[in-house]
């Protein structure tokens, strides 16, 4: 009997070993205020994984293709929970690559685990500069998303080019994210030899931002740099409305995270914010393919307006495709081999752009200021600036 069981077990194990899927982990907020964004990341990854699996999976060395499998964990936007989930996925589930960190604090908490254990970590959302520029000698953290310090440069560039602004003022939420962008914006301004009209902070729970904005107005600001999540951003817009002052507003992507038009009122459309992708307008072949796949898989997606937040889907899709290429280049699921695999990617015609040598030992961010698109809310949809009135 014992022998029979052993034979059975061996027989069961053999084909399983040959086709054992490569596990991909995702740690993100799946509940709470950012749940929608976590779902967008999931969808982007899943559509990419389905596409790869339909073609037979990833080919590692001489083996036949191995399917990819996605494992998700909820971090509830809490760094400690993100760390527990990351450990579980890395060490128990043995994921080849961990995706995650919707929130910068969560991503920053996972970075040391990845670097110390030489396990690849891919960030498809959180924009905090030190996530990829983490100072580690041996860096295993990659990103396909916006980066604060590059967004700040792009915000300045956009204000000058589009609005011919000469004297912008900063209105920043008083938290580490606002602080990180204050640093970035100061550096961007210094690089061009200009100064800010003023730098004002406000609390996320402030009801009236008029006093801060009045200071910027009195200082002669001809445009505003806005950094804040959707709620605080809407407080700024409503305060501007009450003042009867509506200078051009160039914003980080905070407003994209919620019902901005409902919260900020009709003036929401005056805020131009950064995005990495939009499914509106003429789509590339990849864009059309991804949109079609999304509509086929998720019944609630009936058009480009329902892919929201689009940046989550687009970043996750490209990051997964690049990761699959890195695994194939690595020829194994070993962490260090995959890390070096990312460096060996030559070209990938992706959703956001055509990537040429996206990663190197010095460059762990695949996107830069040329890859951003500027968007605004028209009614309840995020559309590229100027596309709809």
């Amino acid at each position: 009997m014992k022998r029979l069981l052993l034979i059975l077990a061996a027989a069961a194990a053999l084909p399983a070993a040959a086709q054992e899927p490569v596990k991909i982990g995702l740690v993100t907020a799946l509940s709470g205020q950012s749940a929608r964004a976590g779902e967008a990341l999931t969808r982007g990854l899943q559509v990419a994984i389905d596409e790869i699996n339909a073609k037979g999976g990833v080919r590692i060395g001489n083996q036949q293709g191995r399917k990819l499998e996605l494992l998700r964990r909820d971090d509830e936007s809490i760094p400690a929970k993100g760390v527990i989930a990351a450990r579980e996925l890395y060490f128990k589930e043995k994921v080849a690559v961990l995706f995650g960190g919707l929130d910068s604090p969560v991503a920053l908490a996972i970075v040391p685990i990845a670097n110390e254990n030489k396990l690849p970590f891919m960030d498809p959302w959180a924009a905090g500069t030190p996530i990829t520029k983490n100072g580690a000698k041996d860096n295993y953290v990659f990103r396909v998303s916006a980066v604060d310090e590059i967004v700040d440069k792009a915000m300045l560039q956009y204000s000058q080019k589009t609005f011919n602004a000469k004297n912008c003022g900063m209105i920043l939420v008083n938290n580490p994210w606002g602080e990180s962008n204050e640093k970035g914006l100061r550096a961007a301004l210094a690089e061009k030899g200009v100064k800010a009209a003023g730098i004002e902070k406000f609390e996320a729970n402030d009801i009236d931002v008029v006093p801060q904005l009045s200071r910027l107005k009195a200082a002669g600001a001809d445009c505003l740099f806005l950094v804040g999540n959707v709620g605080p951003s809407s407080q700024v817009v409503k305060s501007l409305d009450r003042m009867g002052w509506m200078p051009p507003i160039v914003s980080h992507w905070g407003p994209a995270g919620g019902r901005f038009t409902e919260l900020a009122g009709p003036s929401a459309k005056h805020v131009h914010f950064v995005q990495t992708y939009s499914f509106f307008g003429n789509q590339s072949a990849v864009g059309a393919k991804v949109l079609k796949a999304l509509m086929a898989k998720y019944p609630d997606i009936k058009g480009p307006g329902d892919v929201t937040p689009a940046v989550g889907v687009a970043n996750a899709y490209d990051a997964m495709m690049l990761t699959a290429m890195a695994i194939e280049k690595a020829g194994s699921t070993d962490g260090k081999a995959i890390r070096d695999g990312y460096y060996k990617i030559d070209r990938y015609d992706g959703l956001i752009k055509a990537y040429t040598k996206p990663f190197s030992a010095e460059q762990h961010d695949a996107l830069n200021e040329h890859d951003y698109v500027w968007a605004q809310f028209i009614d309840n949809q995020i559309v590229p600036v100027g596309m709809k009135q």
Partner: protein, 289 residues
Amino acid sequence: MIGSALVSGLGLGSMYGLLALGFYVTYAVSSTVNFAQGSSMMLGAVFTYTFAVRLGWPFAPAAVLALLLCALYGLLVEVLAVRPFARRGSNAWLMATVALGIIADNSVLFTFGKEPRGLALPWAAGATEVLGLHVSLLQLAIPAVGLALAAALHEFSRRTRLGKAMLAVVQNADAARLMGINVPLAIMAAYAVSAVFAGVAGIMIAPLFNVHSDMGTVFGLKAFAVAILGGITSAWGVMLAGLLFGLVESLTTALLGSAYTQIVTFTLVIVALALMPNGLFGRAELKKV
């Protein structure tokens, strides 16, 4: 710049004052307060949003029902979190009211949702020019409503039977009881009035702010500072302290910059209380032994 800061300060200040009046009303009658006054304010906004936006009712009945529910919540606070403790001479109502507020906030979080929602009032969105300042009608309405309610409270306590009964309880609860005044009823009425004031503040602020479960937390704390600053024993003092607090806050931001706002306002609160321990307008309480 100073003009618009004054308008902002008066608007917010009168709402601090209104919330602080809620502290005053219950403290005067029973020497207890609902520490989670911010939750009553949040409930006013959340109920109004639910009736006016989700159920599509006209604004007036939505606001009236929301305020009635606030009054009911005030009664609950008194019956569940204050009376059982105060009756035994315990100070545990301090913690019990905070706990009930946390329960209210979290119940709203689960039922209303975590996403902040916007309550737009079309009639309040209009703006006008006053002395060359661009001012929204709501910003003018807020201090007017705040002062009108303070005046109404004054009249109520002077002219109505229940108001007079409450005043009698304030002066001497034991004597009032001997005169046949229903003291528990007067205290319950005070808690209902207190919650209604907070609810009105919530409804007035909602269009300027967002509706979400913890919208009242910081506001409630500041209102308590205002109540203490005004001297919690004087109604008009509390209201004036609210206006003062709002003005100092917005003028500090406008003149010195937002980095200094909290430091300056709360330093002033400490200094004021160090110099005048009973608050700006309060009377020292006599303790007869």
